[in-house]
Symmetry: C2
Subunit: 109 residues, 2 copies
Amino acid sequence: MSPRKFFHPDVSELTLHRILFALSDPTRLAVVLDLLKDGERASGDLLAESVPRSTMTHHLKILREAGVTRTRPEGMRCLISLRREDVDARFPGLLDAIMAHGGAEASAP
Amino acid sequence: MSPRKFFHPDVSELTLHRILFALSDPTRLAVVLDLLKDGERASGDLLAESVPRSTMTHHLKILREAGVTRTRPEGMRCLISLRREDVDARFPGLLDAIMAHGGAEASAP
DNA sequence: TACGATGTACGACGAAAATCGTACATAAAC
DNA sequence: GTTTATGTACGATTTTCGTCGTACATCGTA
């Protein structure tokens, strides 16, 4: 009965165009802006009102496999956080620039 | 006999997710990194060896309509440049972060 | 004007992505 | 063990994207 496992790429495997692609979808960008503002959040609380669960799972998988987020199971739920240090280490200033933009288009599509 | 015209979005119309999408394709990212390094360049000189002209036109159109680049006709050719001030005004630090990454994945796909 | 050079428009094709319903898996509580 | 809450896996569908050939437009020059 192993706990749930999630693949997370190593820092050295992060590529710029993959990260940019992950952030180029309005829904995923809104998620990341939420995380930048509020820190770790339960996946079910992210845009819960406007996106079906299976769709959110899909987007979170893309963010996770691009190395942008970390998924940590906690009981029944999943806690999502940014891999800020990792992304910063490889692409310094990128998340800062995105966070600086802030809530201007943080709403869901 | 009007000269060729190209649509360029106003600074206020730039959106983060559109810009990130424009930069998320390896070919387009390579073009932008070239422009960051060398300044204005003729479109025909960009990745000329590896990308057919109609394909390059397509990518340059996406970059231009996202507000990342400016296209300026000069005789038979088209000179492409980054709209650095405009992108910087709206998303400070974004291009800096991308340029900092530099040539690590500047090669074509 | 006719020609060669450069770039665009358009269309077709295949690949990839976004959405989401349903079925299944996991974890906690009863 | 059963139930309930949460999230994933899978598949189907539709849309979008990337590629590129061909035809056309623009520009300079002979």
